[in-house]
Each structure stands twice: as C-alpha cells, then as structure tokens.
C-alpha cells in the first residue's frame, strides 16, 4: 500500500499555483479585453487596426504555441521570462483576445437611445462610457466572462509542459514517484472541476449583485 499522506501537501501546492495563475491570468485578460474591445470601437483608424490585429493574432494561433513562443523564443530576443511570467502572459493575452470580442459585442448591443441620452445630458464620450454604457454592458459581459475564466483555468494545465509546478505537474510527479496513475489523475480531475464550479458560482452571485439596481432601468 502506498502512503498518500505525504503527497497531499504536494497536490495542495500545485493547486495553489493553478489558482494563482488563474487569478493573475484573468486580471491580465480582463484588462486586455477592455483595452482591445474598446480599441476596436475607437474613432481612430490606427487604434482600431491595432486592436483588430491583436485580437486576430491571439485568437488565430494556438495558446500552446503562444506559450512556447513566450518561453523559448523570447529569451533569444533578449527577454528572459520565468515560467510563471510566461504562463500569465500567454494565458492573459490569449483569453483577453476572446474577451475583447465580448466587450465589443456587449457595448454595441446597448441601445442607441442610451447614447442619445448621454449627448442630451452633455456627457463627454468618456463620461458617457464610464457612467452610462459600461455599467449596463458589463452585466451582459459577465456570463461570457465566467465561461472565459473557466477556459483559462483549464488552459493553465498546459503550463506544466514548461515545467511550472501546477496541479497537473504535481500529478505527474506523484505518478513518477508512486507508479500509480489512477489516484493522482482522478484527484486533479475532481480538483479542476471543483475550481470550475467555484468560478461559475462566483460569477453568478456577482451577476445577481450587479443586476440589483440596474434591472428596473433596463427593462
């Protein structure tokens, strides 16, 4: 019989790295989603073109390729990244590109009368966006952002391939040391599923909270 107690700590460390990556990646993705999503709606052609290029590039190439590029090719160009930095960068930029389309779609779906009301109240473009359009659009973005966050969580498993000690990596370590495959891999499958449930639960309750004041206005 194998004594599993020693490996629990290892798995928890891995889970911590996975959570850390998911949080930091999501933060970068959220930032990029708004920058690129609003960039696509800009008045200036150059900004629109730049945002479109970013979105098409990161959605068009595989996240796997982006991660390997960040980790193996950037050092030759003089940018040395730790596995964690490369992981956060690739995950954040990739999921941010998907999120940008969500931001654009949500902002565009806000009715024309809301923009006209902004003009009528003499709000500037930025003021109208900040106080009128985005609070309504954000509610529409939330469910899809939740799905994107779960996609990001699942994508973190690939950082194990650039030797970052996340949940999947630790499962491989346990497998190598005990020779048992079923137990570590079943455990991490359940672990990932539990984390995904936490994200979808969190997004749902956030959605309810934000909808409180705004619902009566929208309908």
């Amino acid at each position: 019989m194998i004594d599993w107690s020693g490996y629990v700590g290892l798995m928890l460390q891995g889970a911590l790295v996975t959570i850390e990556l998911t949080l930091m990646g999501s933060a970068l993705a959220l930032f990029m989603a708004f920058v690129a999503g609003l960039g696509r709606l800009s008045r200036f052609f150059a900004v629109r073109a730049l945002a479109t290029a970013y979105i098409e590039f990161f959605r068009g190439t595989s996240i796997f390729v982006q991660l390997f590029w960040a980790y193996f090719v950037l050092p030759f160009l003089g940018i040395e990244l730790t596995p964690l930095q490369a992981g956060v960068l690739a995950l954040g930029l990739n999921v941010g590109a998907y999120g940008a389309e969500v931001v654009r779609g949500a902002v565009q779906s806000i009715g024309k009368e809301q923009y006209e009301a902004c003009v009528a109240l003499n709000l500037g473009r930025w003021q109208g966006m900040r106080h009128v359009i985005l609070p309504q659009a954000f509610l529409l973005m939330l469910p899809t952002f939740g799905n994107n966050a779960i996609e990001l969580l699942k994508a973190t498993s690939i950082v194990s391939l650039i030797s970052l000690a996340d949940l999947t990596f630790q499962a491989q370590v346990v497998r190598a040391q005990t020779g048992n495959t079923l137990v570590p891999f079943s455990t991490i499958l359940i672990g990932y599923f539990a984390l995904a449930l936490v994200i979808s639960w969190g997004v749902r309750s956030l959605e309810r909270r934000l909808a409180r004041g705004i619902d009566g206005v929208r309908v």
Partner: protein, 219 residues
C-alpha cells in the same frame, strides 16, 4: 540571434510531416465529436432520469476539466485496465470526447429551434420516434447548426498541439524535436505559429461563407 532561411528550408519537410498528422487528428476528432455530441444531446433529452441525469453530469464534468489531463487519463490509465491505445488513437478519442460535450450544446440548441408544430405534424402523420427524428427533426435541425459546429472544429484544430504531450508526432512535437536537436527555437516555433495563423484566417473565411449559406443558431 538571426532568422535563418536556410534552416527554414532544411526543417520544412519535417514540419510538413507534422502538419499531416495535425490535420488527420483534427478530421478524425471532428468526426468523433459530431457523433458523440449528437449521442449526448439525444441521451440528455431522454425521459428516463436514470439516463439523462448521469449523462448530463458526465458532460458537465468533461467540459469543466482540462483536455490535457483527460489525454493523460486516456493514455496512461486505460493501459492499467488492459486497453492499450496507440498515441494518435488516444488523442483522437480525447479530442472527440472533449469537444463532443461542446457540440452537444449546439445540437441541443438546434433541436430546440425546430418548431413544436413539426413534432405535432409528425405525430399526426403516425410516424414513430425513429421516423420522426430521421425524416422530420434532424433534417431541419442540422443545417442551421453547421456554422456553430465548424466553429468548434476550428477551436479543436488549435488544441491539437496538446497531443504532443502524449507523444503524438504532430506539428508541435516535430517542431520541438528539431528545435531541441539544433538548439534553434526561433524558426520552428514561429513557423508553427504562422502555420496556425494562416489556417485560422482561411477557416474564418470558410466560416463566414457557411454562415451565409446556412444561417446561424446556438451562438
């Protein structure tokens, strides 16, 4: 480090070998995902709760866990039970199962979009369940789903580099092996990225055409 065109010419044949496997895995995986998705969608509609509930949970579980871990599971754990799969077959099964849970949602939306009157008309014509599905519901439900299905197949294509983790010699694995043996990462990794970008941009054109041809549903 400089970009070296001679090196590019030298490694091209190896990469093209990899491209073939990548495309083969995508086609086989898509075919499997199309079948698995339909099966899941139909089983989830079953009136017997002992069938619909477990299938629903199974689909949610697969969707909430990373493909990489599922691939490890299939490749390393099934042999413990006496099922030894070649890497490519294990990879295709993993891709097919994982994306089958996504395509199941597309089928569900497509089937729900068939008007009630069609079901009632089928009953009025005294068709049995099999005839209703084969001759009335599916022929109307499937064409509008095609763009959404194609969208997932493109997404699957971008995930095929994960198969390199279970030793399938697809594009990413070939690129990694040439990169490791010559210790030159810039060309192989960039070429892999360029390859994915080109195929993705083409597939976007194809997708737009499919959307015009068949309309869209389940977005």
């Amino acid at each position: 480090m400089e970009w070296d065109w001679n090196f590019v010419r030298e490694i091209m044949p190896t990469l093209i070998e990899g491209v073939k496997i990548t495309i083969l895995a995508t086609i086989l995986g898509s075919a499997l995902a199309a079948v698995v998705g339909l099966a899941i969608a139909l089983l989830r509609r079953s009136s017997n709760r002992l069938v619909s509930r477990p299938v629903g949970f199974f689909a949610e579980f697969i969707r909430g866990t990373p493909l990489l871990v599922q691939l490890y599971f299939i490749f390393y754990i099934l042999p413990d039970f006496g099922i030894l799969l070649p890497p490519l077959l294990a990879g295709v099964i993993g891709l097919g199962l994982h994306y089958g849970t996504y395509t199941a949602e597309v089928y569900r939306a497509g089937i729900d979009n068939v008007p009630r009157g069609q079901w009632e008309a089928a009953k009025a014509c005294n068709l049995d369940a099999r005839q209703t599905w084969m001759h009335i519901i599916l022929p109307q439900a499937i064409p509008p789903m095609i763009p959404a299905l194609a969208n997932y197949f493109i997404a699957m294509f971008k995930e095929t580099p994960l198969l390199s983790a279970i030793t399938v010699l697809e594009l990413m694995n070939q690129a990694k092996s040439v990169a490791n043996s010559y210790y030159r990462y810039i060309e192989p990794m960039t070429l892999v990225g360029a390859f994915f970008l080109v195929i993705s941009l083409f597939s976007v054109v194809l997708l737009r055409w499919l959307e015009r041809r068949f309309g869209r549903v389940g977005e």
